[in-house]
């Protein structure tokens, strides 16, 4: 489904991502793990078209999207939830969701159906539809950006650190919701620092360190690798 081959990203002379290769199969939930600064978010941004790649290729269902801009990537069927939890604070919850469906803006019936489905998944967003998104709590904002990404009806969802800075109880709920999405057949690439929780939902995982992939395998294999903590502690 999503194939990343030898992807490199540089900021000036600093190479943040050094030729990484990984795949996410259809209906799979793959996790990209690693400490702060390992190059996970740069990878996500490069795939989403928000950051220029300096080498390698990204293909989505056989289509080359390596040098596509963000608006082309979403049209190709890949939606991104960035780690910065970018709601549009001045717009209402309903307006945020409406913009999520921008690429389907003429398909009113389809959007309404999709919105109803998301409102059952996230009842909070239905209650707060008329409220400015900036007034939501952190957890609600996270739900909103995920729901907004799903309004585009993507075939692949990139989730960048959905648990970042949220209370444990809310993190729990977010992961439950990620499992629900996985069960619905959505292909997901989940970037996380929260290793245990990510491995609990993931089929497979890749571990990044200093811009390179240093381990890969099924969730169980990764969990049993004893030096996993070393990659996090920098040892």
């Amino acid at each position: 489904m999503l194939d990343v081959r030898d992807l490199s990203v540089s900021y000036g002379t600093i190479r943040a991502v050094r030729g990484i290769t990984f795949t996410v199969g259809k209906g799979e939930l793959v996790s990209l793990l690693g400490a702060n600064g390992a190059g996970k978010s740069s990878t996500i941004k490069a795939i989403a078209g928000a950051l220029k790649t300096s080498g390698g290729a990204v293909t989505l269902e056989g289509r080359d999207i390596t040098s596509a801009n963000p608006e082309q990537v979403i049209r190709a069927g890949l939606a991104t939830v960035p780690e910065t939890r970018d709601v549009f604070p001045d717009l209402t919850v309903a307006e945020n969701l409406m913009l999520g469906a921008y690429i389907h803006r003429r398909d009113h019936a389809g959007n309404r159906e999709n919105l109803d489905r998301l409102h059952t998944l996230f009842p909070r967003l239905a209650e707060r539809a008329a409220q400015a998104a900036g007034t939501l709590s952190g957890g609600e904002q996270q739900m909103l950006v995920i729901a907004r990404a799903l309004m585009a009806r993507p075939s692949v969802l990139l989730l960048d650190e959905p648990s970042l800075g949220l209370a444990p109880a809310i993190v729990e709920r977010i992961f439950e919701m990620i499992e629900t999405l996985k069960k619905s057949g959505l292909t997901i690439l989940l970037v996380e620092q929260n290793v245990n929780q990510a491995l609990a939902v993931a089929d497979r995982a890749y571990v990044m360190r200093l811009g390179a992939i240093v381990a890969s395998g099924t969730a169980d294999e990764i969990r049993s690798t004893s030096d996993l903590s070393a990659h996090y502690l920098g040892g």
Binding site: E71, P82, L99, Y102, R105
Partner: protein, 296 residues
């Protein structure tokens, strides 16, 4: 009573024009975080279109529509010539290219038309006066008030109720995120320039309607007024631009009414002193823009 009515009409008509000018500037600033210094020339373009079509025998209204259309065309042209080629690369470059485009248009007018004022055709109604409750006021002031109410309402509707408007507001807070949802960057920016040109065109007609002539530098004062109004109101807030425009008009009109003849020539000094006081009190302007924001 008559005095009060006169005062209110003066403030509202000047404020309406100021508010529209400021709105045209802030719509672009909100999205690109860049001031379009060629904005005043859009007003000039509207004026010269009126002058150049004045001999054509077209009905006035058609000439006016043509003038607004030309302002829109030149607004979009500003994007293509001065902004698009350099906007992702350097802020300083855009400052210079927008100044350069402004200069280019002014000098083209100097060279190909004339440095002297040129008459702009105006319907009789622009020079008539009317008495309201004992106050005698030019009809064009009432036209300005009506036009600004209609346009402000139309812009509010566009920005709040249409997908394009909501996408423009989203792009103004977080351009990259809007693009990641599929909102095309170039469409949003061109729309902003078109809307800016539309407002400049209408303001141009109203503004030039006061003077009756057009000169190559006619856009300088509206640009300055728009810039000050947006600074007072908050550089990134559309309602702020409107509030700033009306407040600036209130200050100007009050000074016009109260300053003695000797002091009136220093009116701008008084106005700017008040503006400085407002900014000391509220450095970010009266209405704060969206919390986050980034450049493309």
């Amino acid at each position: 009573m008559a005095f009060a009515i006169q005062f209110v009409i003066d403030v509202l008509s000047l404020g309406g024009a100021y508010a529209l000018m400021a709105l045209g500037l802030v719509i672009i600033y909100g999205i690109l975080r860049l001031v379009n210094f060629a904005y005043g020339e859009l007003i000039m373009v509207a004026g010269y279109t009126m002058f150049l079509t004045s001999g054509s025998g077209l009905p006035w209204l058609l000439m006016a529509v043509l003038a607004v259309v030309m302002a829109i065309v030149f607004g979009i042209l500003t994007d293509y010539v001065a902004f698009r080629p350099v906007r992702a690369k350097s802020v300083t470059a855009v400052l210079i290219t927008s100044f350069a485009f402004s200069n280019l248009l002014q000098n083209a007018a100097l060279l190909f038309i004339s440095p002297r004022p040129r008459n702009v055709p105006l319907p009789d109604i622009f020079s008539q006066t009317v008495s309201i409750g004992g106050a005698i006021t030019p009809v064009r002031n009432l036209i300005t008030i009506a036009a600004s109410i209609v346009l402000l309402a139309a812009v509010a509707f566009l920005m709040r109720k249409t997908t394009l408007g909501i996408a423009m507001r989203a792009a103004a807070t977080n351009f990259t995120m809007a693009r990641m949802l599929g909102v095309p960057a170039n469409l949003i920016i061109s729309s902003a320039f078109a809307l800016s040109g539309f407002l400049a065109g209408v303001v141009g007609l109203l503004w030039i309607g006061r003077i009756g002539t057009v000169v190559p530098g006619v856009g300088l004062e509206p640009l300055l007024v728009a810039f000050i109004a947006t600074v007072i109101g908050g550089m990134r807030s559309l309602p702020g631009a409107v509030v700033g425009g009306f407040l600036l008009a209130l200050i100007d009109t009050t000074l016009n009414y109260t300053l003695s003849q000797d002091l009136l020539k220093f009116r701008d000094a008084f106005t700017f002193s008040l503006v400085i006081l407002i900014l000391l009190w509220r450095p970010e302007g009266l209405i704060k823009g969206p919390a986050s924001g980034q450049r493309t």
